[in-house]
């Protein structure tokens, strides 16, 4: 008799802007700052490229948490992109919360290219938070489950 008692690992999709947060993630790598492999990064030119539909799509396809990382407000490579991100995500997250979807599953963090340590710390914390929530049930699409 063998029971596989695999620890539950959440699936985290991280959208990172090319100029700050993706570079911040690279820096975390350069400095060998570990965070869980649950995090999978998608590179976008700017956090403002992230369409709410991408976030919903990730949840539909089985993501347990979605995090959007961009330059600090005021530091956007495109001057204002992350300001729009901030509004869009504030509204979207508030709506998801209104629909009863756990608000801890979504997050926006501003991570600069110099903040490798913050990137790693953020991902560690986010993974922990999402892992504690368990599997995403409220925005799942049963067809996408294996």
């Amino acid at each position: 008799m063998s029971v596989t008692n695999e620890e539950y690992r959440p699936l985290i999709v991280a959208f990172c802007c090319n100029w700050c947060s993706y570079a911040g993630a690279d820096l975390a790598g350069n400095n060998r700052l570990a965070y869980p492999a649950d995090v999978k990064i998608i590179r976008v030119p700017c956090s403002c490229r992230v369409n709410p539909a991408f976030i919903l799509r990730a949840f539909q396809r089985g993501a347990d948490g979605v995090i959007i990382c961009g330059c600090h407000p005021g530091d956007c490579h495109y001057t204002s992109g992350n300001y729009y991100t901030r509004r869009r995500m504030a509204l979207l997250f508030s709506m998801l919360d209104y629909l009863g979807i756990e608000k801890e599953r979504t997050r926006v963090e501003w991570v600069s290219a110099a903040e490798g340590a913050k990137f790693a710390a953020t991902m560690n914390d986010f993974c922990k938070t999402v892992a504690a929530l368990g599997e995403n049930k409220r925005l799942e699409d049963l067809r996408c489950k294996k």
Binding site: R61, G62, R143, C144, K145, K146
Partner: protein, 343 residues
């Protein structure tokens, strides 16, 4: 014929549920809808459900087949399973007729095995309409709401439910209910039938006839100038088609899953701009043409292919639900008037 006290309906449903799942109209937010009976479920008194009963045989979405991918290997998986027996209780005369209309589409060659599977396992227990609504016009299509078809036909009075098995399926089911029902005279429900008939006579749409329509009337109506003004305000939504018990159009879509593709079919609506779009484009480019298609199908094309039977059962759902209150009754009245010279 057998009967049971209205107060003892629960025991009837409990007895039915012993062998089969039982679905019946239940009141809820936004109107009545079919639900699985469980202890404590109360039968709705509403004249009809918001969605028709066609879902039982022709669900809004249905998985047809699955493809599983492993590397570059593709497996085709047949997802068809033999359906369990089930009972739909409380189907109105109009909806019972709608099954005939659907049968002609799905059970005619080539047979739709998905539909057939469900149809064969479903037992229809109909219920005569005690209080037909002002939107009802089933009489226009020769349907008698006081005497519906069905495997078992029921009539409800203030205190009693009468059950009359009309088919072999119905008799089999009724036989299992002998413990909770008692026999009665075949004429026991006649009084109720008469009451319903007298009420049907008073309905505002009583006088509506479909006589001017039929399978051979394409030429008369296709270029009727009235289509332009009738369709003018149509939003192109699919409400009428989705609440309609006889609309049977569907589209087949592929959905990419984690490790393959699910091919499913889902209801489509001829009112949608993308309906029957092909590589060459859409055959019907304007809302007027799409609007015309729906009504021509119900009143002309369907009868043309089905021995004169109309594709509408007069349930009145579209009258109640159209966002802009355009509907088949207005269309039937307006067409052929010849007075509208617009467009």
């Amino acid at each position: 014929m057998r009967k049971i006290a209205k107060s003892a309906l629960d025991s009837l449903f409990a007895a039915m549920s012993e062998s089969k799942k039982v679905y019946l109209p239940v009141d809820g937010e936004g109107g009545a809808r079919y639900q699985l009976w469980t202890e404590g479920t109360v039968l709705s008194e509403a004249v009809n459900t918001v969605r028709s009963a066609k879902d039982f045989f022709f669900p809004q979405t249905e998985n047809l087949v699955e493809f599983k991918m492993e590397g570059k290997k593709l497996d085709v998986i047949d997802v068809r399973r033999e359906t369990e027996d089930f009972v739909i209780f409380g189907v109105r005369a109009c909806d019972v007729r709608s099954f005939d209309i659907l049968d002609r589409v799905f059970l005619g060659a080539p047979v739709d095995t998905y539909y057939k599977n469900r149809r064969e396992h479903g037992v229809i227990v109909s219920l005569a309409c005690n209080k037909p609504a002002e939107t009802c016009f089933c009489q226009t299509f020769g349907i008698d709401a006081s005497a519906p078809a069905g495997d078992i036909v029921c009539h409800m009075t203030d205190d009693t439910l009468f059950l009359d098995a009309k088919t072999e399926k119905g008799e089999k089911l009724l036989a299992t209910l002998e413990g909770v029902t008692e026999p009665c005279a075949d004429s026991a429900a006649d009084e109720q039938k008469a009451l319903i008939r007298s009420r049907l006579d008073k309905l505002p749409l009583k006088g509506l006839t479909a006589d001017k329509f039929g399978g051979d009337k394409t030429k008369e109506f296709f270029n009727d100038p009235a289509w332009a003004s009738l369709s003018e305000s149509c939003l192109g939504c699919g409400t009428c088609t989705f609440v309609c018990p006889t609309c049977q159009c569907y589209d087949i879509k592929d959905f990419k899953t984690a490790d393959g593709v699910r091919r499913f079919r889902c209801w489509d609506s001829c009112m949608y701009s993308e309906f029957t779009k092909m590589s060459a484009g859409q055959p019907r480019l304007t809302q007027k043409e799409r609007f015309r298609q729906r009504f021509m199908h119900k009143l002309v094309y369907y009868p043309a292919n089905n021995e004169g039977i109309f594709g509408c059962v007069g349930c009145g759902r579209c009258l109640a639900k159209c966002p802009i209150q355009m509907n088949i009754v207005k269309v039937m009245k307006k067409l052929g008037e010849g007075g509208d010279k617009n467009d």
